[in-house]
């Protein structure tokens, strides 16, 4: 018992059976999470998988229907007010004031958090410097680009130096170059001790996280580091090159042991059930039997996308049925 408590001490977030219903819809379904401190923890899942709802429950915006959650040692939602000073939240939609300038928005947030006057000035300047907002100080937020708005929102969420930062799909309105820079800045924060929980539906972003939870239809489908998830995938990956990829794909789909087939350029990426021995041979045989040529057919290491597809597969079949 003592040992478990010690282990929990370095957890920023811990949930048990966290559940939220909206009427008849179960948006989050008994999710157990353990998010370590000073790490980037990712929520990967399609739209409607419960990422935003989970984040909203963890920062006290929504009351869980069932289950319990402890965030930075505070029970949620009972101690949500005490938590507010310690967490920062960047909403999916830009939620600062579009009719205020960058400076006015930052000043406003600093006042809401009642920062001491001396540190306020200093911190606003430092954040503007770091997130390249100094030039934009007098520009109205509504007229800025997606990347600029995102940097402003991040800066505002960091004004009170939160221990834990919630980022709900922070890069959805940002171009690839800015996304890269944004992620670099997240690692700077982690190095300074901040814990970051970020939701995304981009595989490349999920791959950058220290740890990851894959959510699907409100359920926790898999969790772990991206490397561990790829290594422990419950499927075999085969890459196939054929002259008739569309038709070959259809033939493979009909096999019960084929979990999924995806075309990537000229190649087919096939996920096969892990219990089927030597999937590469079976895939090549199936395609040849169907009358198509096989240029190449090899096993391949699992990507995060493969992990995601494999983890969410059973529920997808339910959905079709």
């Amino acid at each position: 018992m003592v040992r478990t408590d010690a282990r929990h001490a370095d957890l920023a977030i811990r949930t048990r059976g966290l559940t939220r219903d909206f009427g008849a819809l179960r948006a989050v379904d008994h999710v157990d999470l353990a998010v370590p401190r000073s790490r980037i923890y990712g929520f990967l899942g399609p739209n409607g998988s419960g990422k935003s709802t989970t984040i909203r429950m963890l920062c006290g915006l929504l009351t869980p229907t069932e289950g319990e959650a402890t965030v930075l040692g505070h029970a949620i939602p009972a101690e949500a007010e005490a938590l507010r000073r310690k967490v920062g939240y960047m909403t999916q939609k830009f939620s600062l004031y579009e009719d205020l300038t960058v400076r006015e928005n930052l000043d406003f947030m600093a006042e809401v958090y009642a920062l001491p006057r001396a540190t306020k000035r200093e911190r606003v300047d430092a954040l503007c410097e770091r997130y390249e907002l100094t030039r934009l100080l007098d520009q109205r937020a509504g007229t800025m680009s997606g990347g600029q708005k995102q940097r402003l929102a991040l800066g505002a969420a960091l004004l009170h130096e939160p221990e834990l930062l919630f980022l709900d799909e922070p890069t959805s309105a940002v171009d690839p170059e800015n996304r890269r820079a944004f992620w670099e800045s997240l690692f700077d924060l982690v190095e300074a001790g901040t814990t970051i929980l970020v939701s995304t539906h981009y595989m490349d972003e999920a791959g950058r996280c220290h740890e990851l939870a894959i959510l699907d239809q409100g359920r926790l489908a898999a969790a772990g580091s991206p490397e561990a998830l790829s290594r422990d995938i419950d499927a075999q990956v085969v890459v196939l090159r054929t002259d008739r990829p569309r038709r070959a794909g259809k033939a493979l789909h009909a096999e019960p042991w084929v979990l999924s087939v995806a075309q990537i350029g000229n190649e087919l990426r096939v996920l096969a059930a892990s219990e089927h021995d030597d999937a590469a041979v079976a895939v090549a045989d199936t395609v040849r039997r169907a009358g198509f040529g096989v240029e190449r057919c090899d096993p391949a290491p699992a990507s995060l996308e493969d992990v995601f597809v494999a983890a969410t597969l059973p529920t997808r079949q339910e959905r079709v049925a």
Binding site: L61, L62, P77, T91, S95, Y97, E98, V112, Y113
Partner: protein
């Protein structure tokens, strides 16, 4: 014929959307019904049942007969008995009666002599419609057979003897303007934050819901006071509307009304999901406030059901208060009933608003 299909598609979509927007749908049906009932039944330009006080100092069979005759005309309802003319004036200043009838101790002798009026008719003249209706009471009593004699009652019009309607309208206008701007501004200001997602961010900050509400209301209190001052100043300057009562009293009443309306606005903001809905709800309050509060049409002339509805509206009580203080020079103590009514409304609206405005998105 493709253009017909395109037009048809958009029109059908419009109807479908409208059917799902219950508030708009309610407005389409509810508005004409409401207007019809209000203008058909409630609004009466020839008011009857004006509340009246009697000071019958002669207390003879003839005077009692005379009072009964007046009451039978249905123009007045005798609601108060007083012992002197001064007591009648007091009742009128406090807004308890619009008409006072003073019959002196020698009423019966004066009635016989017929060379001068036998009694006095005191009229609260601030509402010119009431003034006109009440003046008909001064006609010679039916007990006298001949018609070419002086009226039985000598008319004494209080507060607005020149029969200028701005005198009555201008103080009431403060109420209309404040209801319109205060309720709408607060309702929309909060709904807008929710619509744009600002609220989601604010909720995660240490700011408390009561702090948020107070902060949202505060600027509008100042705006409301500026508006009221503007109307009072212009009323004085352009229409010579006097301020007979204590200016501080007037501002106390205005302040209470502003806060009551802001609380109402907050309440609406917790019920409406978008700015348009907030506007629709405000409209449903504003319309009866204009028509039933006594601003446009005399309160006494309305049927009982309409008066009940009117009593629920803060505007009705404000109208009595502001006219009492500004036009009749009444003191707040004399109007304490109306003040209490506004206070109760404020507390109720605020309680509902704060309870419904939970600091979560649930």
């Amino acid at each position: 014929m493709k253009f017909l299909r395109r037009i048809g598609a958009v029109a059908a979509k419009e109807v479908r959307q409208l059917r799902r927007d219950r508030l708009s749908f309610g407005m389409i049906v509810g508005l004409p019904i409401m207007q019809l009932l209000l203008f058909g039944y409630a609004i009466n330009m020839d008011p009857r049942h004006l509340s009246a006080g009697i000071a019958d100092l002669s207390a003879t069979a003839a005077s009692r007969q005379y009072v009964q005759d007046l009451a039978r005309s249905q123009v007045i309802d005798i609601t108060h008995q007083a012992g002197s003319a001064a007591a009648l004036e007091e009742l009128m200043r406090a807004g308890q009666i619009s008409v006072g009838i003073y019959l002196p101790p020698d009423f019966e002798r004066r009635l016989q002599q017929q060379d001068r009026a036998a009694g006095q008719l005191l009229i609260d003249g601030s509402d010119t419609v009431v003034q006109g209706a009440a003046a008909s009471l001064a006609m010679p009593a039916r007990t006298t057979p001949v018609n070419d004699r002086p009226p039985t009652l000598e008319v004494r019009t209080y507060y607005n003897p020149e029969r200028r309607s701005p005198v009555n309208t201008v103080p009431g206008l403060i109420g209309i303007i404040l209801t319109m701007t205060m309720t709408l501004f607060t309702a929309v200001a909060i709904v807008r934050e929710r619509e744009r997602g600002n609220l989601e961010l604010l909720i995660t900050t240490p700011i408390r819901s009561t702090e948020l509400m107070v902060a949202k209301i505060l600027p509008y209190i100042v705006i409301g006071l500026v508006q009221a001052t503007l109307i009072l100043l212009l009323g004085d300057w352009l229409f010579r509307v006097p301020i007979r009562g204590n200016l501080l009293d007037a501002y106390t009443v205005i302040l209470l009304f502003i806060v009551a309306n802001l609380a109402l606005g907050l309440m609406i903001s917790t019920l409406a999901t978008n700015q348009f809905q907030a506007m629709q709800m405000t409209f449903f309050i504003l319309l009866p406030s204009i028509l039933l509060s006594g601003f446009m049409f005399p309160f006494d002339g309305m049927p009982t059901a309409a008066q009940w509805i009117a009593e629920v509206l803060p505007m009705t009580h404000f109208m009595r208060l502001i006219r009492g203080v500004v036009l009749r020079g009444a003191e707040l103590w004399e109007l304490r009933g109306e003040l209490a009514a506004l206070g109760v409304f404020l507390v109720l609206a605020l309680t509902v608003a704060v309870r419904r405005f939970d600091k979560t998105l649930d």
